[in-house]
């Protein structure tokens, strides 16, 4: 009964994740549903799915192997930019727990606008040299 409710709940979430480039994870950090179907059943870095034994993994998810979602800082300078799934474009990510459930919704926003700012910038090449590579602090 519980499983049926959970499945119906998950199916219902698809309408929401398609509104944004978003995905919903459960309490073990496994992506249950995503706007991009290839992300589904991947696990977040540092998620607790690895601590679950194989029997339970198969019981809960009908599988034992989970690919890892590749989310890494865009650079090591502490900006909010991340590299999401090896994308060439930096992105930012926001997450919010869904109240009264074990779900968390996360959304990824591509920062393609950064290149527009870069090309819009006056004396681009000069400024990059004059800044002595400081722009790397932002985009690295």
């Amino acid at each position: 009964m519980g499983a049926v409710i959970a499945k119906k709940e998950i199916r219902n979430l698809s309408a929401w994740v398609n509104k944004l480039q978003a995905f919903v994870t459960d309490e073990r950090g496994v992506v249950l549903i995503a706007h991009d179907r290839t992300l589904e059943m991947k696990s977040l870095p540092g998620s607790s799915i690895d601590q679950l034994d194989e029997t339970h993994r198969i019981g809960y998810y009908n599988r034992s192997q989970f690919d890892r979602l590749e989310i890494a800082p865009w650079n090591d300078r502490g900006t909010a930019l991340v590299r999401f799934e090896r994308s060439a474009v930096p992105a930012v990510m926001a997450s919010c727990p869904v109240p009264n459930s074990n779900f968390t919704i996360s959304a990824v926003g591509g920062m393609g606008g950064l290149s527009a700012i870069r090309s819009d910038c006056l004396c681009k090449n000069f400024s990059l040299q004059a800044s002595n590579g400081k722009d790397k602090e932002l985009l690295g």
């Binding site: 409710i5 119906k8 709940e9 219902n12 979430l13 929401w16 509104k19 944004l20 978003a22 919903v24 900006t79 909010a80 930019l81 930012v92 990510m93 926001a94 997450s95 919010c96 727990p97 869904v98 109240p99 009264n100 459930s101 779900f103 919704i105 996360s106 959304a107 990824v108 926003g109 920062m111 606008g113 950064l114 700012i117 870069r118 910038c121 006056l122 004396c123 681009k124 000069f126 400024s127 990059l128 040299q129 004059a130 800044s131 400081k134 722009d135 932002l138 985009l139």
Partner: protein
């Protein structure tokens, strides 16, 4: 005659020194302007980049929060239906 030549040479010499002084000053000013323009450009780029990142983060956070609220309402409704 010799005195005239000496005076002529001295005048030419001081004119040349003045001209090279003006040229040096002009070059220094031009270099300073180019540096200032470059720095200003980088500063503008840096401010706009940070603003874009901050705004996008705020917008995404707001949207995920909204969707989380909507999902909660949906789930509550669905659970209520199931209980009935």
């Amino acid at each position: 005659m010799l005195e005239d030549v000496r005076r002529f040479v001295n005048t030419r010499q001081s004119n040349g020194e003045a001209q090279s002084g003006i040229l040096r000053t002009t070059l220094a000013l031009a270099a300073a302007c180019v540096l200032a323009a470059g720095w200003l450009s980088y500063w503008q780029y840096s401010v706009r980049t940070r603003a874009l990142i901050t705004n996008t983060m705020k917008e995404l956070s707001f949207q995920t929060f909204q969707i989380a609220q909507d999902i909660t309402a949906d789930l509550a409704q669905m659970r209520e239906l199931w209980v009935r």
